[in-house]
């Protein structure tokens, strides 16, 4: 029996290593491209749809690239309260990101460094809190928030939303502080730093990548939050973008053009935010290892 009887595996291993390496890389790139298309196509479709005229939307067959580009849908979206909702969303996201990052950093440091009884059990139970879906939390929150009078207010939503982002963030920071060698702070103490100074000037800069990961995570949750705001916010002047988006679904019709235009406006800042923080993540990673 000669080479024509070879199995595919035998044939593969008969190739020179450099060639196999090349094919292997191509295969990896192919998988990556398929993944990218799967992720990016809906986003492309959203932008493309938002640029179509209302008539073009329902023409069949629908063109893959819009032929009659118009900003009409954006104009009609801007006639609503969208800018107000925008402001509310930014306010909500900033509040959640700020509160989560500060609380998770302080809490994570405490769990990693201080001798608290049962702290391991505590840290694991925190993660358990992350498992409750927002819909389960939002009803009791509604009742409770109404009793203490912070219903229909953005600070109220910030607190409620932070309750969903904090458990995982706290756990993440706890893990992160464990990777920062304690000897840095010990050496700072001997050098003459107070405990707080050692935390603030030594541990905190080293924990920056973790803090940025927490900021991105909580931003993603807060920016796309729907369930908790919809339960806790009643007047539409307090709405956030996700709720406003839903208002384009009317009783008899769905304004697809406007929904896509508003969605595009919703998505763009997240790119900007992550793009801006990305360089800090990389810088942070370089800084942590000596």
């Amino acid at each position: 029996m000669s080479s024509d009887a070879a199995t595919p595996m035998e044939f593969w291993y008969r190739l020179p290593y450099s060639q196999r390496e090349k094919y292997y890389n191509w295969a990896l790139n192919l998988v990556l491209s398929i993944g990218l298309v799967l992720i990016l196509f809906p986003i492309y479709w959203m932008v493309a749809t938002s640029l179509m005229s209302p008539e073009g939307l329902f023409s069949l067959p629908n063109p893959l690239v819009p032929t009659d580009v118009t900003l009409e849908t954006y104009r009609s979206v801007l006639e609503t309260d969208v800018l107000l909702w925008y402001r509310n969303t930014i306010f909500l996201a900033a509040g959640v990101v700020g509160l989560t990052t500060v609380a998770a950093t302080l809490g994570g440091y405490g769990l990693a460094r201080l001798d608290i009884p049962f702290k391991k059990t505590f840290a694991r139970v925190i993660l358990f809190g992350y498992m409750f879906p927002p819909i389960l939390l939002s009803i009791p929150m509604f009742i409770f928030w109404r009793q203490i009078g912070i219903i229909n207010s953005l600070p109220g939503v910030i607190i409620a939303q932070t309750a969903t982002t904090l458990p995982f963030s706290l756990w993440l920071m706890w893990q992160f502080f464990q990777t920062v060698p304690y000897s840095y702070e010990e050496s700072a103490r001997i050098i003459g730093c107070s405990r707080f100074q050692a935390f603030y000037e030594i541990a905190l800069p080293l924990a920056k990548p973790g803090m940025i990961a927490v900021a991105i995570f909580s931003f993603a949750i807060a920016w796309g939050a729907y369930t908790i705001p919809t339960v806790l916010l009643t007047s539409n002047s307090k709405w956030v973008l996700t709720l406003g988006l839903y208002s384009f679904t009317q009783q008899e019709s769905v304004l697809w053009g406007q929904i896509m235009a508003a969605s595009t406006m919703l998505v763009l800042p997240t790119f900007a935010f992550v793009y801006y923080l990305q360089k800090y993540i990389l810088r942070g990673f370089r800084a942590t290892r000596i």
């Binding site: 700072a188 103490r189 050098i191 730093c193 942590t288 000596i290």
Partner: protein
């Protein structure tokens, strides 16, 4: 300045059990003294140093710096400096910021602290590295930076927790000299922790050998080497380590006893008498032992297991009835592994230890007291 440790005890709570890390130890470090704590890992040497630094709170006992009780003082108020095993240079600060950081904490203004950082960097021969980050430095440069940071603020004592253990052999020697130079210049006590006895012997004015939370012996390198207090110190100091062979005491009349070792016997004067038949251990340094190809020529007979080269000398390992003997003082070139040989040494060179407690009973007779030349075979 002096540092004094008084009946220091540290007990760790591990789960529900207690672990005794340091058991009531005492020592005093004089002004300008280079003092080393040495011992196997887990002996409590690092814990002791961390108690002195203030990073651990002693369970009981006192730490005095310059006569002042600092046991309850926070580490930042003790005015000490410490070098850690992992160097602990702050990765987010460059070299000059790292060196100047203690001054920044003390509120020294920027131009002055930069200037002083530059001065010590000059002293440590790293002036060209000032703007680099720790991640960009080599191992030796990091060590120099760390040393610079410890001396920039004139601490009242230098503490070092195995600062050389991650370096290669050549760099170790180089940084060792650097540390001694800095110690001389700073003129303050240095407390140095290491598990490496050769490092301890070469650097220290005085050494404390620790084991299991106790100080087993304390003294100058010569004292510990020449007249160790017990078998632990004898075995820990010196490399390759001392040969210990069991023997029994016989009656020599008066203050004298005989030591019976594998059929050979010698007489020794013991001030504190020991009853006849007491088990003892005979200790003899490998540096004083020769191996002879003639099985009957020496004092003990055995099989030559191994000959290996250690630096400029050869180390022979001989299996005898009661264990093995290491010999460094080889006079014969033609020793064959596996052959029956004999081990030769001078009775005047042996140490005697109590068989049970391990305490030293007698040490080698100093050359001046050896009234008649004993035959070396």
């Amino acid at each position: 300045m002096t540092v004094e440790v008084k009946s220091l005890t540290k007990i760790y709570q591990v789960g529900s059990s207690e672990e005794l890390a340091v058991d009531s130890i005492d020592f005093e470090i004089g002004a300008n003294e280079f003092f080393t704590l040495v011992g196997p890992s887990g002996c409590g040497k690092s814990t002791t140093l961390r108690c002195i630094a203030g990073l651990e709170t002693p369970t009981s006992g006192q730490i005095l710096v310059d006569g002042e009780d600092v046991t309850q003082t926070a580490p930042n108020n003790r005015g000490l400096a410490m070098m850690f095993q992992d160097i602990a240079l702050y990765p987010h600060m460059n070299v000059v910021e790292n060196i100047a950081y203690p001054l920044k904490v003390r509120g020294v203004d920027k131009t002055e602290r930069q200037e002083r950082a530059r001065e010590v960097a000059e002293l440590m021969q790293i002036p060209e590295l000032l703007n680099k980050y720790p991640g960009e430095l080599s191992g030796g440069q990091r060590q120099r930076t760390a040393i610079a940071r410890t001396i920039v603020y004139n601490p009242s004592a230098l503490l070092m927790d195995e600062p050389l253990s991650d370096l290669d052999a050549q760099l170790k020697v180089e940084i060792r000299k650097e540390i001694q130079r800095i110690h001389e210049r700073a003129g303050v006590p240095t407390i140095y922790v290491t598990h490496d006895q050769s490092e301890a012997l070469s650097m220290s004015d005085r050494i404390a050998v620790m084991n299991d939370g106790h100080v087993m012996g304390i003294g100058s390198p010569d004292e510990l080497y020449e007249s160790p207090e017990n078998t632990f110190v004898a075995a820990f100091i010196g490399n390759p380590s001392i040969n210990l062979v069991p023997a029994t005491l016989g009656d020599g009349g008066g203050d004298r006893v005989t030591v019976d070792l594998g059929g050979e016997a010698t007489e020794r004067e013991l001030t504190e008498g020991r009853p006849v038949g007491t088990d003892v251990e005979v200790g003899i340094r490998p540096e004083r032992v020769d191996v002879l190809p003639d099985p009957d020529a020496g004092k003990l007979t055995g099989t030559l297991e191994l000959i290996e080269r250690i630096g400029d000398r050869r180390l022979a390992t001989v299996d005898i009835d009661d264990g093995e003997i290491r010999a460094l003082n080889l006079s014969t070139d033609t020793l064959a592994e596996g052959s029956t040989v004999s081990v030769a040494f001078d009775w005047a060179d042996v140490h005697l230890f109590d068989g049970e407690s391990g305490e030293a009973l007698a040490h080698p007779i100093a050359d001046v007291q050896r009234n008649e030349p004993t035959e070396s075979v």
